[in-house]
Amino acid sequence: MKKVLIIDDEKDFCFFVKKGLEKVGKFSVAVCSNAKESFKEITRFQPDLILLDILMPEINGSQLAIELKKNKETQNIPFIFVTALISYDEIEKAGLNPHDHKILTKPVRLSELVTVINSAIS
């Protein structure tokens, strides 16, 4: 069973996405609502893919992505940004080049999320 880690400070969103991915996508899903603790969770859970929010308190998604790429243990884990940011301007302001990453905009349908995750993992 493929493992997906959701890193997002919106706990209710994480709850429903976890339930949906488990039921429809048949994934094993873990949630981390505190980005500061995400490395600990990655080490423990060993995900095949990470769903990553962009705007989060303390550490934002783009900083976390840089750290993931730097770290030998995590650099090969694919990640998909799932964000409420809508425009390229805002995504660039958050420190990301929108053309370099897979970015899904909230609200995202479960069917779309499952398709994108499967495509990234395969």
């Binding site: 996405v17 809508i86 905009t105 909230k106």
Partner: protein, 386 residues
């Protein structure tokens, strides 16, 4: 430039004397005289001399009649009345009617004539300068008011853009929770009753509609920077049609196209695609029973002198049409005739904003039960035979 002076005086000898004096005192004066007052009036109207020297007492039209006729025709030529000595009251009457000055036929006539003419010419120039300045001030004021209006509008839009971005982020997060929640319920309550399932479907649709309103609002209030490239209109149209067919099956709708293959436009592909998509979706939704959409591209010359041309993309449907009283409101944000069909009322506002940013335009003609014709106008970049 010579100063053309018209002398109107029924006493030919005096008129000739005046002409001689004038040409002697200043070789820049070019005097002409007419002894018939009606003929003098006609000449003044036709030839527009710089100054008129007019006798006051003449048969047929008097000097005062000539002056009044000129004023009636809104012809402003420095008018100097020539009066006999002791007739200053007459001169006052003339001045009240708009004469510039008067000169008395007396021994000093020759000496004062030049001074009076020059004074009248100065008065005329000052009057024209004042009028010109007043016009310039008035135009500048209008322009200032217009600029101020545009500035307020652009500041409002900028504020709306910032505000919308903030709102979008704050609203999209709870929308994500609602959508996640309803999809979770759909999974959990797969055996629910028809009413419960319908309720869940309605909540899901409403959530997605709220999301599309947010997206539309952002596109309207904070359009992204256009990336201009040379494009062929038929390529964007064909791509948009393919996207539409993917998004909604075009039931009983025939699409006819007629493209001018030789035109190129400089435009942002995604944005023009958005414009086409919004207009085509309106056309499709106006024909629930089916119909025909005809898409034509072409050019026309805007200005025969400069040869400046535009490209047009005409989208004509055979749908329900729009009533005349609705037409002026079509570009107002959130105005929709499709509230029951989940219209956001932003499609045409966004299209208009995009086309304004392309120095283009959007024109709509419609008749109830006859259909609607939308013309997208864009500056033409290239017209050649390939």
């Amino acid at each position: 430039m010579p100063v053309k002076i018209l002398i109107i005086d029924d006493e030919k000898d005096h008129a000739f004397l005046t002409k001689t004096i004038l040409e002697q005192v200043d070789n820049n004066y070019q005097a002409d005289f007419v002894s018939d007052s009606r003929e003098g009036l006609k000449k003044a109207i036709e030839e527009r001399p710089h100054v008129i020297l007019c006798d006051y007492r003449m048969p047929d039209l008097t000097g005062l009649d000539v002056l009044r006729e000129l004023r009636k025709a809104e012809i402003d030529i420095p008018f100097i009345v020539v009066t006999a000595s002791g007739s200053e009251k007459v001169a006052v009457d003339f001045m009240k009617e708009g004469a510039y000055d008067y000169v008395v036929k007396d021994v000093a006539y020759g000496e004062t004539l030049q001074a009076v003419i020059e004074k009248s010419l100065d008065k005329y120039r000052m009057k024209k300068d004042k009028e010109r300045l007043e016009t310039e001030v008035s135009e500048a004021y209008s322009k200032l008011k217009e600029t101020q209006k545009e500035l307020i509008q652009s500041e409002k839009l900028a504020a709306l853009g910032t505000f919308s971005s903030g709102i979008a982020h704050e609203v999209k997060n709870p929308l994500a929770v609602i959508l996640g929640g309803i999809e979770f319920l759909e999974l959990t309550l797969s055996n629910a009753s028809g009413d419960t399932k319908m309720a869940m479907t309605k909540i899901k649709e409403a959530t997605l509609r709220a999301d599309s309103i947010i997206q539309g609002l952002l596109k309207f209030a904070k359009p992204s920077e256009a990336e201009f490239t040379l494009l062929k209109p038929e390529d964007i149209i064909n791509e948009t049609l393919a996207l539409m067919k993917y998004r909604c099956p075009l039931k009983n709708i025939e699409i006819k196209t007629e493209f001018d293959q030789d035109i190129g436009i400089n435009a942002d592909k995604n944005q023009i695609q958005q414009v086409l998509f919004n207009i085509l979706m309106n056309a499709v939704e106006s024909m629930p029973q089916g119909g025909t959409i005809t898409i034509t591209t072409g050019t026309w010359i805007n200005d025969q002198n400069t040869g400046q041309s535009s490209c047009f993309i005409k989208i004509k449907d055979t749908g329900q049409g729009i009533s005349q009283d609705m037409l002026p409101k079509l570009f107002e944000p959130f105005f929709t005739t499709k509230r029951d069909k989940k219209g956001t009322g932003l499609g045409l506002s966004i299209a208009k904003t995009i086309l304004d940013n392309h120095n283009g335009n959007l024109l709509i003609e419609s008749k109830i039960s006859k259909g609607t014709e939308v013309r997208i106008i864009l500056p033409l970049t290239r017209k050649n035979k390939e």
